[in-house]
Symmetry: C2
Subunit: 334 residues, 2 copies
């Protein structure tokens, strides 16, 4: 981190300006400030319109913005109108559902995302949650921690992972890494994706309802867009059936959460492992008393290793943009 | 299950007798009683010596015994002396540390165990606990369930599984299945075993201390015997180091539990996933407040699928013994 500072202190005004719409850990923030003039929305304390107007009025207005996936600030026509100097938006998540890609494309604003830095971690977390639901790890954990083992004896049986038919919704990077891991446990992989892939030996289902009816487990690993909002709805849950388990490491809104809660309450599906929710950080309180549900707080991407990879990817893309080189993890060309 | 009953009711006295030292679920018990005259110790309510004396005095004394792995009743010289008609002992667990194999061999008492019926489930559970410890699944679960997410925001970062050096102690059936699963996550496998194996590409360590010092994670997957009691001791924990994680799906006494608790309390190792304990069902209370520890109640073998496989294996071995055929999952020949 000392490298560019060691090369001599450049006068601050020469650094390219960028808008930051995300809280960062100290290392990451320091690495950005070494290279860029960071206009930090959350640190500014200003309302968004005033912050954007102030940035746009600078003699050297910001040409790039760093936004958080699923964060509070959406990159839409209003934001792009307010700061017309913007030419590049970087999402620190893989999802870009908070960025209006059509508006960006229309204005030739380039977009990049975190690429694959999180993919292995998310795939790992999905496997961990599936084992947890099937084998009741968190539930047995509560049982042991509450001191009930000596009094109550054996904990109820779990269910074997091997031989399970796992239907993956979205066979992108995360879904593919998830399938490779699950194959090692003896699972049978099915998938739904925008199109069938010749490169994988798995059975393809054109629609999610059919996938659910031939799967024991559904793993939601797709991006959120208008086609995938509530892609798991009441009918799909019905098709999955009372022994079925659902794992969501996509976005909360990929599932109709109210229907999911109802299906769990009524025993119409067997269990769920959820890292994401429709109204984070709010989690439906009905889930808190269910032992067949495993919930984590949108942490599937959160490891110190992936955080460090994200820093490199963020800075790499910003430096590429400001020096006119190809973006590293481009979503929209510029 | 109806098959042998449908073949006509045989008179009860003709069924071969066996001693049962284990509580069974209703299906399993019914399947045994259909085929054998079951002398059930726990149902008898008698003290062990009286129960054994009664069984030995029968006109057709029991020739086989079914005992539980890690159960309350040990098959030792005293038990074998009390019922000299015994010619076969079946352990419903993979471990036979509760059976004095030397005494059995000396008396030509055959021994069989559950074979590999649990191996995949135990290997799966070990992976689940490792992901749980690294990625803080159970801890994040508690965080979400207690409603802290909205108030406290992001949960602390976990650690990536890929690239971790996993040292497996005991590369038997369970250890091998565990290693295959972990390879799919990008782990680097090392192992310690009684002897090096040419059939695997992993690095072999003759002693556990050296294995620990070159591993990020230790997985205890060995049997319990005099050589492996406290095979993970203070020195091994020291060698594993403060970033190290230990997973135990062997037997509680494979680890010096008091030293493990001390190392965890003092931050000399990073975390643990424990399905077994030295004095089950007692668990050291100090562990209850640790978020870097995942504890389950000896359930790594507990799935409905493995339970059904166990029933088949138990009956298959007993029928083989009583009809003079080779045992299916023999530990000691007869």
């Amino acid at each position: 981190m000392a490298s560019s500072a060691a090369s001599g202190e450049e006068p601050v005004p020469l650094l390219p300006a960028l808008l930051l719409f995300r809280r960062l850990d100290a290392d990451f923030a320091a690495a950005l400030r070494q290279r860029f003039r960071v206009l930090d929305f959350f640190a500014s304390g200003e309302p968004l319109p005033a912050f954007l107007a102030g940035a746009a009025a600078l003699p050297d207005p910001p040409r790039a913005a760093v936004v958080m996936g699923g964060g509070a600030v959406r990159v839409d026509a209003a934001l792009l109108d307010a700061v017309p100097s913007l030419g590049f938006v970087f999402s620190t998540g893989a999802g870009v559902d908070h960025i209006d890609l059509r508006e960006c494309a229309r204005r030739s604003v380039a977009v990049a995302n975190s690429g694959t830095v999180y993919s292995a971690d998310v795939a790992d977390h999905a496997v961990g949650m599936l084992i947890d639901v099937l084998r009741r790890v968190s539930a047995a954990e509560r049982f042991v921690r509450s001191g009930l083992w000596p009094a109550q004896g054996d904990y109820p049986l779990g269910t074997k992972l091997g031989g399970k038919r796992v239907g993956i919704i979205g066979l992108g990077n995360i879904g593919s890494l998830n399938s490779k891991r699950l194959e090692a446990f003896g699972c049978i992989i099915h998938y739904n994706s925008r199109r069938s892939r010749d490169s994988v030996p798995y059975k393809y289902f054109f629609n999610v309802h059919d996938l659910a009816s031939e799967s024991d487990v559904l793993v939601v690993a797709c991006a959120l867009n208008k086609d995938t909002r509530h892609i798991v709805n009441k009918d799909v849950l019905e098709a999955l059936g009372k022994d079925g388990i659902i794992i969501n490491i996509g976005r909360g809104a990929n599932i109709d959460e109210a229907e999911l809660v109802r299906a769990l309450k009524e025993g119409r599906i067997a269990g769920a492992g959820l890292d994401v929710f429709e109204n984070e950080p709010k989690v439906p309180a009905e889930l808190f008393s269910m032992d067949n549900v495993v919930m984590t707080s949108h942490v599937a991407v959160f490891t110190s290793e992936s955080r460090s990879d994200l820093r490199d990817t963020t800075i790499g893309n910003l430096e590429a943009f400001f020096s006119g080189k190809p973006l590293l993890t481009q979503v929209l060309p510029w």
